[in-house]
């Protein structure tokens, strides 16, 4: 089981801030494909991959990063701190 976390408008579109999933995905990108296949809400949330950032165990990663052994994968839009 992996803990998924969502932030900002991605959280609003998905409709939850976190959930636990079983996944066969090897990478973040494959995990996104699994999520998009679930329903229209997820498909819409992840429709523009250029606007999606991801973190594996709280480290920012590229979408082709592996998720083997990860406890937590987070998805969010580009950050706007400062």
């Amino acid at each position: 089981m992996i803990e998924l976390r969502y932030f900002a408008w991605l959280r609003e579109r998905v409709g939850t801030g976190h959930e636990q999933v079983e996944t066969q995905a090897a990478t973040v990108a494959e995990l996104i494909e699994e999520l998009k296949a679930r329903d229209e809400g997820y498909a819409f949330a992840f429709s523009d991959l250029k606007a999606i950032r991801a973190a594996v165990d709280q480290d920012l990663v590229d979408l082709d990063a592996p998720i083997a052994g990860a406890k937590e994968v987070a998805f969010f839009p580009p950050m706007t701190g400062g």
Binding site: R5, F7, A8, D59, A74, P77, M79, T80, G81, G82
Partner: protein
């Protein structure tokens, strides 16, 4: 060790600057940057709301500060970033750097800001008379980052 603070409470930027400067035994140059909630173009900002990723936030800020400490001759660095709801004129965040060399203090503070803007997990939402809207990331913030990677 750089000090990192993530909090929802308001803070006093002058007090923080004094506190930071007071612990610099032998660094003659202190630079600070403070970000303040400003109005939107339409002039009807009610508040700003900042969401963050507890846990990752502290980790990302510590990493950025550590990187600044190795890139420049810094005596110390400080980052404070708020989350939650804040009104116009309130201070959102602050960074400070101390060095024997003013060029290092300036460069490191600007580096911290450029990284904070687009690599620390904060998301701003503007609440106006029209409703609430997430602030879009800006291309120029990515461009600002790129110059540090070339070095």
């Amino acid at each position: 060790m750089p000090e990192i603070i993530v909090q929802s409470d308001p803070f006093d930027m002058g007090e923080m600057l004094n506190r930071f400067a007071a612990r610099q035994a032998n660094a003659g140059a202190v630079v600070s940057f403070s970000g303040i909630v400003r109005d939107v173009a339409t002039g009807d900002l009610d508040a700003m709301e900042i969401e963050h990723y507890p846990g990752m936030t502290e980790k990302a800020l510590a990493k950025i500060a550590g990187e600044a400490m190795t890139r420049w001759q810094l005596a110390d660095a400080f980052i404070l970033h708020r989350h939650g709801r804040m009104g116009q004129g309130e201070t959102i965040m602050m960074v400070a750097t101390a060095s024997r060399h003013r060029a290092d203090a300036f460069a490191a503070a600007e580096f911290l800001m450029d990284y904070l803007k687009s690599r620390a997990p904060f998301w701003k939402k503007e609440i106006t008379g029209e409703g609430a809207a997430w602030v879009a990331a800006r291309d120029e913030d990515e461009d600002a980052l790129a110059r540090w990677q070339q070095q």
